[in-house]
């Protein structure tokens, strides 16, 4: 372990990536809303990003593209307790109960209706209920950490859960992930597919985390952080966090009455 990668090494790489981004933008390059797939401070990306640029498809030339429609999900695909992660077992999970809610929108601000929102997370101690998870924090027999729901007519989703704990990982020595909830969402078109992570405000681990810092644009990174919303807090029960999700990419060109988005 003579050459073990330290936080200081990663910090230098993160700073260099940010400086390079600033230079690009000052040189007239567009704002980057998403991480570059080639982001060395996150070591797992090294062998898993394409070297060749993606081929751009001009969707305006063919409204029949498969990618311009989206899989449908409905009431059959979710159960009532799927959106309340505190009620999925016989006992109460340990931890701070939270309500996480927001709207699913496209870039024009239109709600994405009746579409699937999936989420998963570590328990209050920072442990996933995944077989391969090796962090030796305790499992909670009353918490699986998986939720699903459909957005309502205004694009709203809402989960009741437990605030997840931060956890260590092996990117470098003393690497810790800030507490986060994974989200997977669909839009009105497959082109709008999004998998991402929601963070909690004022987490001191933010600057050290190469995954969050892979979003090099300050404003874009801030959009991954929920806001505490006292109006969402439930008296005697849970603290509220609001997090809206805005889907990128061209939307569907078709409409379907009374079901999914325009």
């Amino acid at each position: 372990m003579a050459d073990a990668l330290t936080q200081a090494d990663i910090d230098r790489e993160i700073a260099a990536e940010r400086a390079a981004y600033r230079e690009r933008v000052e040189g007239g390059a567009p704002v980057e809303h998403h991480p570059r797939r080639d982001y060395a401070p996150y070591r797992s990306s090294t062998l898993r990003h394409p070297k060749r640029p993606p081929v751009a498809i001009d969707v305006s030339r063919d409204p029949e593209l498969v990618e311009l429609s989206s899989p449908a999900f409905g009431e059959r695909d979710v159960t009532e307790t799927d959106s309340d992660l505190s009620r999925q077992h016989t006992g109460e999970p340990i931890g701070e109960r939270i309500t996480v809610s927001g709207r699913l929108l496209d870039r024009d601000g239109r709600p994405v209706r009746g579409q699937l929102v999936e989420m998963w997370q570590a328990n209050a101690a920072g442990r996933y209920a995944h077989r391969r998870e090796q962090h030796d924090a305790p499992l909670d027999p009353n918490f699986t950490g998986v939720g699903r729901t459909l957005t309502d007519a205004d694009g709203h989703y809402r989960f009741t859960t437990i605030r997840p704990g931060p956890y260590p990982w092996r990117n470098h020595v003393n690497a810790w992930r800030p507490a986060h909830i994974h989200f997977s969402v669909f839009g009105s078109a497959f082109t709008q597919r999004l998998v991402t992570q929601m963070y909690f405000p004022n987490d001191p681990l933010f600057p050290y985390d190469p995954i969050l810092q892979s979003v090099t644009d300050d404003a874009a990174r801030q959009r991954l952080v929920a806001v505490y919303d006292h109006g969402l807090s439930v008296p005697e029960f849970s603290l509220g966090y609001r997090w809206d999700i805005v889907l990128d990419g061209p939307g569907a060109t078709w409409t379907e009455e009374g079901h999914r988005p325009s």
């Binding site: 998403h34 090294t46 999900f73």
Partner: protein, 201 residues
């Protein structure tokens, strides 16, 4: 700011993408995710392959989503891919009758995956294809690609995407014929033989 006013013609900045990470398996996977075709349907095809990284090693923790039209080229609008059992809270599975067009499969420990779905029909100006979305630990933003089946292979220059690609690159999007309705489609994330990936600006 994470709160956005509704409506308005303004162009809202999008929520950034993040990696799916290593621990999505117990959350996103569902039984029958890879068995999209209605039971016994005569237009069923099996597409399978490996996902490889830039060192040529199989990727054992990739998640693929496959989305495609029915054999007549119609996009399914039916839900029920991950039908639940309200009594047990578990999965009831697909009903074996309806075609949702949506499949989701994790690579296994060897980096191998398969889906059984219906042979896609042609739409618009394109040759028939299945749309694929690739997620993995280490992949900060998902990747799109397409699976074209041989035999459906377009007249040269008959598909707007394939016509733009040089032969060698085009071949990465066409599955290999293995007989009995089975096709091989490997995905190479990086390096030699790198799969053609797509973006939709």
């Amino acid at each position: 700011m994470t709160q956005h006013a509704s409506g308005g013609a303004g162009h809202l900045p999008p929520t950034p993408s993040h990696t799916v990470g290593p621990f999505y398996g117990y959350a996103l996977s569902f039984p029958g995710g890879e068995d999209v075709a209605p039971l016994g349907h005569r237009d069923t095809v099996t597409v399978h392959g490996y996902v490889y990284d830039g060192a040529g090693d199989p990727v054992p923790d990739a998640l693929l989503e496959v989305w495609g039209p029915d054999p007549r080229g119609e996009m399914p609008r039916v839900d029920g891919s991950m039908r639940r059992d309200p009594a047990s809270g578990g999965y009831a599975g697909r009903n074996g009758v309806e075609f949702t067009g949506f499949g989701r499969v994790q690579t296994d420990a060897d980096g191998h995956w398969y889906v059984r779905t219906l042979r896609p029909g042609a739409r618009g100006r394109s040759a028939p294809y299945l749309s694929v979305c690739v997620f993995a630990r280490g992949l900060l933003t998902h990747l799109y690609t397409r699976i074209y089946l041989p035999g459906d292979e377009p007249a040269p220059d008959g598909d707007p995407l394939l016509a733009r690609l040089e032969r060698e690159r085009r071949d990465t999007l066409v599955a290999g014929e293995e007989g009995a309705g089975t096709y091989r489609f490997d995905i190479r994330l990086q390096g030699e033989g790198e799969t053609v990936f797509l973006e939709f600006p």
